[in-house]
């Protein structure tokens, strides 16, 4: 049991929890700034970013992927802003134009380019493959202390963990500017905060979370983690600090329950098969949001 768990289930579980929290934390600020759908846009444009990075760099190194995705995210934000300004078009529609086009371009680029031998295809991009992240070198719990075995951890784990740390550190350090900017942008600007730069930083970090998560959980599920845990937390509390903590907690719970249900749910029903863990995690986060929407103590607007 110990061996099987550590080798097969522990890495995907930890990665899933890291992904969930890394997306949920910036998601809070996107939600409060009424930019929830930027998470949606980002997770779509990550695909062309990665494909382009692959075409340019010729390999799927994580650095190239990160840069490609960040560039794509920034590019899409600039494009959205330009369309909004010049056409005086509402942000939702401008966003819709940009992310669908970029996603379409990414898909065609992917189909055209020679990606044989590299696991990069559209379905993978959408669904991810959390279950496939296995720690072959693990022999049991003791392997957690064995440097040789640790070196064989799936590369996604340290990568995802590093991104999580970056996001948490950013959030802690820039907590006050983020809070002021989200509440009262004019006041923040009068204080001399560069709100545009900070907003862009938030987008870049979200893109970082999305691209790191991309491999494990696929791009659509990332949206669920950007929006559902923060939205549920907002309905449960009226304080920003608690909301962010709670959203991280709910995200982690979604990841754990979702993973377990995906792996063993059908087994409990008597069938020996498993289902998509990424999809299940999104589903669980949706169920949590639904519960919060029906009976969360702060679900209603006051006025």
């Amino acid at each position: 049991m110990g061996f099987e768990f550590v080798s097969l289930s522990l890495p995907p579980l930890v990665i899933g929890v890291c992904v969930a929290i890394a997306c949920a934390v910036p998601g809070n600020f996107l939600l409060l700034r009424r930019q929830a759908l930027i998470g949606d846009a980002i997770s779509h444009v990550v695909l062309p970013g990665i494909v382009l990075a692959f075409v340019v760099a010729g390999s799927l190194s994580s650095v190239a992927m990160m840069i490609g995705a960040a560039v794509a995210a920034v590019f899409s934000m600039v494009a959205i802003e330009l369309i909004r300004r010049f056409g005086r078009i509402e942000p939702g529609a401008a966003m819709g134009v940009v992310f669908t086009t970029m996603f379409a371009a990414g898909v065609l680029l992917l189909e055209q380019s020679d990606t044989d031998g590299v696991h990069l295809d559209v379905e993978h991009a959408l669904f991810g493959n959390l279950e496939g992240l296995i720690w072959f070198d693990a022999l049991g719990w003791a392997s957690l202390l064995d440097p040789v075995a640790l070196a064989g951890l799936p590369v996604e784990l340290p990568r995802m963990f590093a991104v999580l740390v970056i996001i948490v550190v950013f959030t802690v350090v820039y907590w006050r500017p983020l809070a002021v900017m989200s509440f009262d942008e004019g006041f923040a600007q009068a204080l001399g905060l560069r709100t545009q730069a900070l907003g862009m930083m938030l987008v870049i970090l979200s893109a970082l979370a999305a691209v790191a998560a991309f491999d494990a959980v696929g791009s659509i599920i990332v949206i669920a983690m950007f929006i559902c845990p923060p939205a549920a937390a907002r309905l449960l509390t009226n304080q920003l600090g608690r909301q962010v903590w709670l959203s991280a907690l709910l995200a982690a719970i979604s990841a754990i329950i979702g993973y377990v249900l995906a792996g063993y749910g059908l087994g409990w029903l008597g069938y020996g098969a498993s289902v998509s863990a990424a999809g299940m995690i999104a589903t669980v986060s949706g169920v949590i949001l639904a519960i919060a929407a029906v009976c969360g103590p702060h679900r209603r607007r006051v006025s």
């Binding site: 759908l37 529609a93 559209v122 939205a231 998509s276 995690i281 999104a282």
Partner: protein, 400 residues
């Protein structure tokens, strides 16, 4: 090759699909305009992603009852049910909780899609694997389509198109003039329901052709592109439907000669091409026109301010202003006005004084509304009015 496709030379199926895609684009462009004008463009994204679990459940049910799980009509019925549920969820979260509509859209589209993926893996787990062909609904695939499916698409696209055309009037009234709609006895929520039904129809018909991830593009890109060409809503409506129709038709034709590529992205890129042309080159709102106009405007502002400063003997603080004055020959390099500069400055000051008088007088309210700091008053008032104003403010200061 492309010409063959455009002229329906690639077989009956391809021709049907192209006509269907064109009609679908037409309907989408029109329905999308109403969504866009109500600022609810992205609601369609939630609706389209929400179809996935419906398709999967329909497949499972049809297989369980011994039918053919791939029956397109059955799958589309499932899609309709699920997306209606998704729409209801968006409405509930947006209206009954403190969450904004965009958060509700994001939550619904990701959760429904995630659940759909779970169901797809369930279907795979029961051994249908890729034969189910359900993946084709993600990005659209028209290659190797059954005759009956192609017919279904063409007919339902034509039907959708007819419905939008038929409902055009009430939707227009509801979108452009809700007040009038209410007075004339039309219930606004009824129009909203009709609109959502049309959007749902477009989405479901588009599933096989464009795919559920990208169908939203066909509802959003055409109206946004059309917006650059006209300020008038009815024009936007027609331009948008033409753009949508062209994108669908050309995209399907391109896809017919490249059967390996998914159809949806090709259609979306066609739509985007038309958008890009509009965005850059539209005569009023296009980027090119806007940028040129902005620079001209900024120049005019600086010139006017510079002349006023010269006339009043104020120093000029801004480099750009000074540069413009020098280039026009109105000032020397050290900021001293030249003779022509002095004359122009006096004229500008005179105009400013006239404007002040006009704007302070209720009798000239209509003319005063045209004030923008740049227009010459003589362009706004008649000769007689101008003389009247001049009489009130007295002779020009320092005039010869």
């Amino acid at each position: 090759m492309l010409l063959d496709a455009l002229l329906f030379q690639l077989g009956y199926n391809a021709a049907l699909v192209m006509i269907g895609a064109g009609l679908l684009g037409l309907a989408a462009g029109m329905a999308g305009t109403f969504l866009f004008l109500r600022k609810r463009a992205l609601v369609s994204d939630a609706i389209s992603h929400a179809t996935l679990p419906g398709i999967a459940v329909a497949f499972i049910v049809m297989e369980a009852f011994g039918g053919d799980g791939r029956s397109l009509a059955g799958l589309l019925i499932g899609a309709i049910c699920a997306s209606a549920l998704g729409l209801a969820a968006v409405t509930y979260l947006g209206n009954r909780t403190r969450l904004s509509e965009d958060a509700a859209i994001g939550a619904v589209l990701s959760v429904f899609f995630g659940f759909g993926i779970v169901l797809l893996t369930v279907i795979q787990a029961f051994g249908y694997g890729r034969q189910s062909g359900l993946e084709g609904f993600l990005l659209g695939s028209t290659a190797g389509m059954l005759r009956s499916d192609a017919t279904l698409i063409a007919v339902s696209a034509a039907l959708t198109c007819a419905i939008v055309l038929l409902m055009r009037r009430p939707l227009t009234v509801a979108a452009f003039d809700p007040g009038f709609a209410r007075v004339s006895g039309q219930r606004p929520d009824w129009a909203e329901a009709v609109l959502m039904a049309v959007v749902l129809a477009v989405t479901v018909v588009g599933l096989k052709v464009v795919g559920l991830i990208l169908i939203v593009a066909l509802l959003i890109i055409p109206p946004v592109a059309a917006r650059f060409w006209s300020d008038q809503s009815t024009h936007v409506l027609w331009i948008s439907s033409i753009i949508g129709g062209l994108a669908g038709y050309f995209g399907a034709a391109l896809s017919a000669i490249a059967p390996d590529l998914p159809t949806g992205p090709i259609i979306v890129l066609c739509a985007f091409g038309l958008f890009l042309v509009s965005f850059l080159f539209a005569p009023e709102r296009g980027v090119l026109a806007s940028v040129l106009r902005h620079f001209r405007f900024r120049r005019d502002v600086h010139m006017r301010q510079g002349l006023l400063a010269l006339a009043q003997g104020h120093p000029i603080f801004e480099d750009l202003t000074l540069k413009l004055l020098i280039r026009a020959g109105f000032a020397s390099a050290d900021g001293v006005p030249t003779d022509t500069g002095r004359a122009r400055a006096a004229k500008a000051l005179r105009d400013e004084a006239r404007w002040r008088e006009v704007r302070g007088d209720p009798a000239f309210e209509r003319a005063a509304a045209r004030y923008d700091g740049l227009t010459d008053l003589s362009d706004v008032l008649t000769e007689d009015q101008l003389r009247e104003v001049d009489a009130r403010i007295g002779p020009p200061v320092g005039a010869a």
